[in-house]
Symmetry: C2
Subunit: 375 residues, 2 copies
C-alpha cells in the first residue's frame, strides 16, 4: 500500500471513524482502524461488532493494499501534522508516514484479522433529509430505557410508512414520539418497523448531523445501513451499518391519551424555569406537585423538603377542565420540555394517575407522554 493524501481530508475521515473504536482489551483489533485502498479511494473503517462504519476518500493511490493501525494514536498524530500532503506507505509490519519534516513508523496489525463489515446490497431503500432526520432523532434518543431488563425498550423504534416515519422511545415512565411527514409517498413495497440500539442512534447523530443533503437508508432482516455521498461524486462517502435489537416493540398507541380532564397552554421557557426552580426544593424522589385552579386561571408548582425549605411559584393561563393536584418526577418534565422547540407548549392532564401530555403548540409532529407519581 502506498498513497498520497492531504492532511485535512484524512483528518476529517479519521474524526468520523475513530469515534467508534471501543477500548477493547479482549479484541485488540477493534482498537484499530482498517486502511484499505479501492481503486482511487482510501477506505477507513472501524467497528465495535454491533456498528460498522466505512469512510471513503478520493486520493492518489500509488499501490493498492490494506492494513490496520491503532485508531486513537493515528488520529491524534494526523491531527498534529500541518495541512500538507502526507505520504503513507506500508513497509512489512510498519506504516511509514512522512509529512514535511515529520517521519514516523507505526506498528500495524494485519488487515486479515479485521472483522468484515457487511454492506447491504439490492435491498429496499429510501432517502430522507439528513438534518431533519438527525434533529428528529435528537428529540427522542435520550428517552430510551437505560435498563437492559427489557431490551426492546432500550432501543429506539423506527417505523417507515408510506407517508411518514415514526420515531419512538420510552422507558415505561414516559414516552416520546416524533413523526417526519414525507412530502410525497415513498416507493417502499412494505412498511419497515425496527428497533435500533440507542448507541447506534447516538453515533448516527454524531456522524451525520453536520452533513447537508440526504441520507440513504437501506433495510435488511436484521441490519440497517445509512449512507451519505458527496455532491460531486456518486460514490458513498460514509456507510454506517448497524445490527437491530431483537424483539417486538410494545403497542404504545393505546396509551396516547385522546382527551384530557384538564388542559392549558404555557410559555415554554417560563414553565421550564419554574420546574427547574421547584426541583431545587424537591425530595430525593424528585417529586414536585402541580395544582390546577380553574377559577383563578392559575397553575401552582410546589415542592418542599425538610432540609432546605419550601417553594411555590405560579403560572397564569386559561385553564380548561377540572381542578387537579398531580405529582410528577421533575426530571421527566424537564426532559420533555427540552425536546420541545416551540415557544408555547400544551400541557394536558388526566387526573392524578392518568398519562399527562406535553405538546408543542402549532406542531403536530411531536408528543411527549409522562406518567404522574401515584400517591
Amino acid at each position: 500500500m502506498k498513497l498520497l493524501i492531504l492532511q485535512e481530508k484524512l483528518k476529517q475521515g479519521l474524526n468520523v471513524v475513530s469515534k467508534l473504536t471501543p477500548k477493547s482489551l479482549t479484541l485488540p483489533i477493534l482498537n484499530n482502524i482498517l486502511l484499505n485502498t479501492e481503486k482511487n479511494f482510501l477506505e477507513l473503517a472501524s467497528t465495535d461488532l454491533e456498528i460498522g462504519i466505512k469512510y471513503y476518500i478520493l486520493t492518489k493511490i500509488e499501490k493498492q493494499g490494506k492494513t490496520t493501525i491503532p485508531s486513537q494514536l493515528f488520529f491524534n498524530f494526523i491531527n498534529l501534522l500541518p495541512n500538507k500532503n502526507i505520504n503513507i506507505e506500508l513497509k512489512k509490519n510498519n506504516l511509514d508516514i512522512v509529512c514535511e519534516n515529520y517521519k514516523t513508523q507505526i506498528n500495524t496489525i494485519s488487515a486479515d484479522e479485521f472483522p468484515i463489515i457487511p454492506i447491504l446490497k439490492e435491498t429496499e431503500n429510501i432517502t430522507i433529509d439528513n438534518s431533519l432526520f438527525c434533529e428528529s432523532l435528537k428529540q427522542i434518543v435520550d428517552i430510551a430505557s437505560l435498563s437492559n431488563s427489557k431490551p426492546e425498550i432500550s432501543g429506539v423504534y423506527l417505523c417507515f410508512q408510506k407517508n411518514q416515519l415514526i420515531i419512538t422511545a420510552t422507558d415505561s415512565f414516559r414516552l416520546g414520539e416524533k413523526k417526519i411527514f414525507f412530502k410525497k409517498p415513498n416507493l417502499l413495497k412494505k412498511e419497515y418497523s425496527l428497533i435500533l440500539p440507542q448507541k447506534t442512534i447516538k453515533y448516527l447523530i454524531n456522524v451525520f448531523s453536520e452533513k447537508t443533503g440526504e441520507i440513504k437508508i437501506s433495510f435488511s432482516l436484521n441490519q440497517i445501513m445509512f449512507e451519505s455521498s458527496l455532491q460531486e461524486t456518486p460514490h458513498p462517502e460514509i456507510q454506517l451499518v448497524s445490527k437491530l435489537v431483537d424483539g417486538e416493540y410494545p403497542n404504545y398507541q393505546e396509551i396516547i391519551p385522546k382527551k384530557f380532564t384538564t388542559e392549558a397552554v404555557f410559555k415554554k421557557e417560563e414553565l421550564l424555569n419554574q420546574i427547574k426552580s421547584a426541583s431545587l426544593f424537591s425530595k430525593k424522589t424528585n417529586e414536585i406537585k402541580i395544582k390546577l385552579n380553574i377559577k383563578k386561571g392559575e397553575m401552582d408548582i410546589c415542592s418542599s423538603n425538610n432540609e432546605t425549605g419550601e417553594y411555590q411559584s405560579t403560572l397564569k393561563s386559561k385553564i380548561k377542565g377540572k381542578n387537579e393536584e398531580i405529582i410528577f418526577n421533575y426530571k421527566f418534565l424537564i426532559d420533555g420540555l427540552l425536546n420541545i422547540k416551540s415557544s408555547e407548549v400544551l400541557f394536558g392532564f388526566n387526573g392524578d394517575s392518568g398519562p399527562s401530555v406535553l405538546k408543542p403548540v402549532g406542531d403536530q409532529s411531536y408528543i411527549y407522554i409522562v406518567m404522574p407519581i401515584k400517591t
Copy 2:
C-alpha cells in the same frame, strides 16, 4: 433582616462567593454563605477556613440583620429567577424570598455559627493592575508541586520588591519565574516575601481576572488581603483574605543558568506541535530525545515505543554551541511552552544533565527552567 435587591446584582455576587464554599460534611456551616447588612450594603461572605471572601452590594436595606443559607441552593435558585427586584426577609429561622410569582422559604443556620473572616487593617499595602497581575499568576500557578511532602514548594512564591514583583513556582523538576516591573517604585518600607497556597492563587484568578482596574494588596505576618472596588464608590466590592504557607522558599536563584552550552531560537507553535507529536510515541516514562546538530543547523525530536512505533521530526534553526543529545519529560516542555506568549522562543541547553531554559524572545519577564532526565 429585610431588603430589596435586583436579581442580576445578587447573581453576580453569589457567582463569586459560592465558588469558595467547600462541601464539608464535618462543618456544615461552611457550606453556607453569610448574608449580612452593613448600612446600605448587603455583604455576602464564604470561607473554607484557609481563604475568606466578602462581596458587598449597594442596595435597599429596610431592616438590618444577618443569617446564613446553603450556598449552592441559593445560587442555583437566584440564577433561575427573572432579572427583577427580589424581596428578601428573615422570618424566624427561614429566609423568605419573593420575586414576581416565585415564593420560597429557605432554612437558615444562625450567623453566630459562621467563622469570623478577619480584615487586615492599618497594614502596608500596594496596588497593581488587576489583569496584569492575574495573567502573570496564570503563567506560574500550575507549576507548583502537587505533593505535600515539601509544603513550601506546594505554594506559589511572591516577592514584592521596590521596583518589581517576582512570582515563582517549582516542583523541583522545573521552575517558572515571572516578573512584573513597576512603572515607578512603590512605597513599601520593606520587601515582602511570602508563599501563598496554590488554591488561593487559583481562586484569586477566578475571582479577579475578569475585573478591570486595580487590585489592592495588604500584608500582615501570616495573612494577605486582596481588594477591588467599583469605580463609582470607594467602598470595596470584593475582599479576599488568605492564610500564608509556613516555611522558607528555596533559594532558587543559584540554579537559574547564566549561560548555555548550546542555544537556538524556534517558532513556538512548531516546537510545541513537534513535542506533542513525539509524546504520542514516548514510553510510559514520558521520555523524548532532543538531538542538536550544529553543522546541519537542525534539532531532531525523537521518541520510540515497542508497542506503537517510532517518531522523528526536525526543526531548522541557527544553533550555537555544542552538539548534544538530551532526554526530557515531554510534559514539562509542553507546560513551559504553553505559558510562553511570544511567537518565538529561546531554547537554551546545558548538556544532558544541566538545567535547560525556555524563554520568550523579546520579553525579559518570564523564564522557565527544566531539568533533563538523566540516563
